[in-house]
């Protein structure tokens, strides 16, 4: 896990979006228009859009994002375990 953590900035090397995760302008170029339903975009505003925090170097905010995400995962499982204990009582 530690090694993987060190490798994280490698994820920043590529600017190429995953297949199908293009910016909307891509559709304009490819098919001449942006499909109506796609214009609305995100239904909520994510806290940390695209793993980047404004004003911080990309590598730093990527690490911060990794840390926050990992912490949330551990917390969620811990929380499920606590619920389970309560159920048992």
């Amino acid at each position: 896990m530690f090694i993987l953590f060190l490798m994280l900035p490698l994820g920043l090397l590529t600017d190429a979006p995953a297949w199908g995760e293009w910016d909307l302008s891509f559709y304009e170029k490819a098919i001449g228009f942006i499909p109506e339903g796609m214009k609305k975009g995100n239904v909520i505003d994510p806290l940390i859009q695209d793993y980047s925090l404004e004003g911080l170097p990309p590598a730093v905010s990527y690490y911060l994002s990794a840390f926050i995400g990992t912490a949330l995962i551990f917390l969620s499982f811990y929380w499920i375990k606590i619920i389970r204990k309560k159920d048992e009582r």
Binding site: A18, G41, V43, P46, G69, I73
Partner: protein, 221 residues
């Protein structure tokens, strides 16, 4: 493979939620049953690992990129239901906090990268591990990536058919199955499936070596 908001028509995401909710309920029940002092560290570490590995985007020729998912490893080491729920949790966090994958598309993303990946990996490992365990691990990782890419390609590809304006213009994702299937499934067969296979092999081998005593006690679907 994270489908963003706005790509899927309401008919698609509402029915995908309807299909996913009972699966979530059963999976969470399974997870609660198996989560205790011994399994908590392993399950949460594997899930965190899965989150981290998804952050490492690998560029491939053709101007696109992708990443491993890590569902197969959880599914083989613990249980496919837990692989599914763990991945769904990761996807939820990615969607809500980081805007990676949509909220409306969460059920479809969970079904592809969670459910399809976990169960194909689990069964192919069960089937193949009798012949050669190393190959079975690699192949299970590979097939899990290919299977989830197929599910994603299917859901994206049916959009132009089921949702278009009266003049025929697609309202949501504009490319049909004839484009999504080759583009997504082939790239996962040739590139990301291999990455997922290697990841599954390395992670499962490593954990089995170090945590044999724990695994003995929590196996069994």
């Amino acid at each position: 493979m994270h489908i963003p908001d706005g790509y899927l028509s309401p008919a698609t995401y509402i029915s995908s939620y309807a299909a996913a909710v009972p699966l979530f309920a059963y999976g969470i029940k399974k997870l609660k049953e198996s989560l205790d002092e011994k399994t908590l560290p392993l399950i949460s570490s594997l899930t965190a690992l899965s989150f981290l590995v998804m952050m490492i985007n690998i560029p491939i020729p053709g101007g696109t990129s992708g990443h491993a998912v890590g569902a197969a490893a959880i599914s083989i080491l613990i249980n496919p239901w837990i692989g599914f729920i763990s991945l769904s949790l990761v996807l939820l966090i990615q969607a809500v906090i980081f805007g990676d994958g949509g909220i409306t598309a969460w059920a479809v993303n969970s079904l592809s990268m969670g459910f399809a990946a976990s169960f194909t990996a689990y069964f192919s490992y069960r089937f193949l591990s009798g012949f050669n365990r190393g190959f079975a691990l690699f192949f299970s990782g590979w097939i899990s990536a290919v299977a989830s890419s197929f599910v994603v390609a299917f859901f994206l590809g049916i959009q132009p058919m089921i949702a278009h304006a009266p003049d025929g213009k697609p309202l949501f994702f504009p490319f049909g199955l004839e484009i999504t299937i080759p583009a997504l499934v082939l790239s996962h067969m040739v590139y990301f499936g291999i990455v997922e296979g290697v990841y599954t092999f390395v992670v499962v081998r490593f954990i089995q070596k170090t945590k044999n005593q724990i695994l003995g006690e929590i196996n069994g679907v």
